[in-house]
Symmetry: C2
Subunit: 226 residues, 2 copies
């Protein structure tokens, strides 16, 4: 009986790269990327810091793996409902995922050795536009514009120190009270009339997104009718 402890009995399952990555992502999700240290991670897994190096090369490799895991969470564009729908779904999917993995935003585009999920994803995104008739150059520009917007918006959302709109409003209120509002009337007005209003600003995201998508559609028509 002691030889067959069953899957739940062992408090310390053997480490794998998968398990290490999962624990690292959970830690970063909960406590922020600045709390992710090799020492804390090993402690969370119930072992010594150096044991990690049997499954990952170093911290950089750890980050590469974490980012590839995040890319694997993004829904691939289906290609059935047209490029515009595909790009809108992509934008919304990334926003949702990055709200769970706020630490990932600055890293999604800065890893120089992309994993398989990252490559599959990028290939599908480009393919969605190319199949819809986008010339290579316009596809490149279009994706750069959309990605800039998507990651930039996420960057600004991540900058909010609290996840809920109510808490954010409260902080904005406190910030505003420390500022000489008569010197910055426009700033004060916009903060009061917009930032202090609750609501998760789904509107703001789609507003800019649609400006880009509609503009891209016009660019596509111009290029193809010439």
């Amino acid at each position: 009986m002691a030889q067959q402890p069953g899957p739940r009995a062992d408090p310390r399952p053997p480490w794998t790269r998968q398990r290490v990555l999962r624990a690292a992502i959970d830690l970063a999700d909960q406590d922020g990327i600045e709390s992710l240290s090799m020492r804390k991670l090993s402690q969370l897994l119930g072992g010594a810091p150096m044991s990690l190096y049997n499954h990952i090369a170093n911290k950089d490799d750890l980050l590469d793996g974490m980012i590839d895991a995040v890319f694997s969470e993004i829904e691939l564009p289906s290609g059935e409902d047209g490029w515009k729908t595909a790009m809108r779904q992509r934008a919304i999917s990334i926003r949702t995922i990055l709200s769970r993995h706020r630490w990932a935003i600055g890293l999604m585009n800065s890893r120089t050795s992309p994993g398989p999920a990252t490559l599959r994803y990028h290939n599908a995104v480009i393919g969605s536009l190319r199949d819809a008739g986008f010339p290579v150059q316009l596809a490149a520009y279009g994706i750069a514009a959309l990605d800039s917007y998507i990651y930039g918006f996420a960057l600004q959302e991540q900058a909010l120190p609290f996840p809920t709109p109510a808490q954010t409003s409260q902080l904005a209120q406190a910030m505003l009270e420390q500022i000489p509002t008569d010197q910055y009337p426009h700033f004060a007005e916009l903060t009061i009339e917009d930032v202090l209003q609750p609501g998760d600003d789904h509107g703001a995201y789609e507003f800019g997104l649609d400006l880009l998508l509609d503009g891209l559609e016009q660019s596509l028509h111009k290029q193809t009718t010439h």
Copy 2:
């Protein structure tokens, strides 16, 4: 004579907050934000780590000061040539400045105690749109869209590990050789036909920027003619 050493003679001028911030920015510009440590900074200034704390409260305060200094470098919108020109100049100005201060990109929107230069800047940007007839809500959405694009584009440029297009092409070439290109044909095609071509892609930045500005102009007309 020894009492009057002249400005160049003293190798260790007294530290001031100004001088500390300047040295910190220079260090971050040259070696990256991860190299900016209190210890290295104090060494650069020719003193002990703890001496820094006579001029700044802690590292967070140091970052606050650095970011406010970066905001002070951005040209304020003049307001004479219309909001569209003002916003385009703002976008180009930020891109130029963030190429010098790549470490700043992720921090511009995440500091919760904005300094005077930051407040003056934001107030001027909002004012530029409000004076042109933008309702508060549309100004807020418009700035959010533009800022997302501006910072997101900078984030992607910063992600490039080398500052010059030639070096970047070379790295992309090396990356591409390690990838099974037949599995990712769209990715390979775009990399070869776009990324590997030299040129600093001024075009890509203005392309997305104009999509947003033209779209914003249409939104403004719609709102004001109703």
